[in-house]
Subunit: 226 residues, 4 copies
């Protein structure tokens, strides 16, 4: 749960927070525009409003900036999501619908940021990855919990595994609106997209059988190994 520490030479915690905010805001814009590798530290510093020397008072390496940025993006997505969920104590299928719709809208509002993360996570410092992936899972977990409650209150019937699977599906189909926007935008408006996916994600899920004992495809090996 603890955050990964990023070393700063400066002591004043309040100042650290302020400078990092500037830095992250500047960097996000640049990463969206040209990606992490094509963005220089000088550009980040300038866009943050201070000098390159100052930048390095608050981070140790360029990768630290990326970590800070990713961290921030997750926090924002999550925060917005949470804001909605917190009001609800228990969950009905309709609450899930609301949550999904809201989540999709959040993704729409942070398309660029979501995209950055999809493309740059691999450049994170090795030790930062777990922290970021954990946040990812926490968000999936939100949907998982909602699904569980819907199963509990009998509105829908899904196995343990199906719940896990489906929470990932909900999460990914939200992200999808961002990372496949080059095509989806041509086909649907956001409202249409929400409506269509809602059908598949909620109504469709009702039609799923809980226990498929025999899966005939598991034996299927008619694809050459490579």
């Amino acid at each position: 749960m603890k955050k990964r520490e990023v070393h700063a030479s400066v002591k004043d915690e309040r100042l650290i927070q302020k400078r990092r905010d500037q830095m992250i805001n500047g960097a996000v814009k640049l990463f969206i525009e040209k990606g992490f590798h094509r963005t220089t530290t000088r550009e980040i510093a300038r866009s943050a409003g201070f000098s390159i020397g100052t930048l390095y008072e608050y981070i140790r390496t360029k990768e630290d900036v990326l970590y800070l940025v990713c961290d921030r993006i997750y926090d924002q997505v999550r925060e917005r999501l949470q804001k909605i969920l917190d009001t609800k104590q228990q969950t009905t299928l309709d609450d899930l619908r609301q949550a999904i719709a809201n989540y999709f809208r959040v993704v729409d509002g942070m398309q660029d940021e979501v995209l950055v993360m999809y493309q740059e996570v691999k450049s994170l410092p090795k030790d930062a990855l777990p922290y970021v992936l954990r946040k990812e899972l926490e968000m999936v977990d939100i949907f998982k919990q909602m699904l569980e409650r819907c199963v509990e209150n009998g509105e829908i019937s899904l196995s343990e595994n199906q719940i896990k699977m489906h929470s990932h599906n909900i999460y990914v189909q939200g992200q999808m609106w961002a990372f496949r926007r080059w095509e989806l935008r041509k086909l649907f408006t956001l409202d249409e997209y929400i409506e269509l996916q809602m059908e598949f994600l909620v109504e469709g899920a009702k039609g799923v059988k809980e226990n498929t004992k025999e899966c005939i495809y598991c034996e299927t090996r008619n694809v050459p190994a490579n």
Copy 2:
């Protein structure tokens, strides 16, 4: 349909083919391992088995290598997919199931490559992007056509838009096995994954209502604009 041309100084077409094969094979490994930006042209040359000078006899810029690699990956995924589909003349829901299962297995066999593409497309030379995205759509289209035939033969009932949407879902849920493997692998085996998603993608789709006239979520704007 025409391929984007990559300039080569060498004339002999057969040689170009051979050298580019070497180059692509070497590069994929490196891109998987460290990403496009962290891979140097010298490494690519060495890993391909020839000198840096020779590398540049067959391409003009480093980005050309990336294009060649992406192009190749798509071709391979597609080729494997096609091999299966070509045998079938018409499509039943069961054929669709077969196709999905096979597709998921192909993705599993090319996880690394699929991942590379998700992360590096943005680094493609600007004029190469359309070529690559077209290939992507061609693959989505395979599923779209299968869905259409299933609708035609009455096994399932989906609107035009739902078909479009769902073909993307099928495609993305296959890719998902690659780009979220860090988590999915912990939860499911490939077989389990196939089985679970099949439920949602096929059985679930049966439960979808064709015409949702009124979508109550479309008006929902309870998410702050930013």
Copy 3:
């Protein structure tokens, strides 16, 4: 009249001046020795007394160095010339003689630099050429003005065109001492050269007829076109 700007990353104008001085001094020596193309940027940096990284803080491209060098050389030649001329208010033929002699001595003192310019102007960045050529003309103009005044005060009689022509001749015959030194040095000392050319340039000019109405050579076309 404005100088062509050469971009520097460094802000401190005083420092820019200082570093560029070092750079130019180092570069001139190298250009004289081996020409622009055979001189590497690393050599320029080293010879200037700083690192390659620092060099590029003060210029954008290697060609910028050449422009800076050419610009400097002209400024120096001109400055020295001006210093002499400024003392004189009106011009007699004798002042012209003084000016020519002085100019020839300046060229002698900057032989290498003059040579560099003759050989490397063509390598200047395209947009820099006009600036350099303008400076060249300004120097020719100095002699033109002196000639005009000598004509005005009746010491010599030349047409408008003859003045233009002759100012170029004076200028070029000065440069000639630099760019044909490989031979002229064998034949004459600088003093002899000055004395001899003075005869042709000043006494000779007296014997020129102002209006040659008919030029019999203009019709002469006994040289095959190619």
Copy 4:
């Protein structure tokens, strides 16, 4: 008098001649267009109509091509000049006028080539320079001889040194039409240029005093050493 040898792997002298002709013709065009250093050997080969391998059958280094080109240009200028002069047995001032006019026209017809030589001689292989400079002097010598004969037949009166000096002046003022064409072209047509320079070179020379015993400028040292 012997030419500098350029090594060829090929034996057949007739073939060597042919191939080198092709090579020189191709190279001149390229050197005029982009200079020696910016022209690649591959370009030379292509423009000559054969392969890079073949090029190196007839030369040893790129610099050899430059030597060959310079050599050829001098030969051509000279040849054209000679063609005219050979017809005359003795020389009158009028013959000199004819020769000068013709020479200027030759230069005009070979402007580009003359320019190339001015800019690229310094890149010649060290041991080739003497050969090229000798040719240069031979051409100056033509005018020297003509001047001498004019002095002999009493039409003009010049000292030994003045003759030497003036032959260089004639030669350089011809070249000047090429290397200062960027400005001279704006001022004069070729015919005007010839007419004007003729005045200075021939009529002017008549006004020159043969023996200036005392040169007051020789002592003049009012230019700071540097």
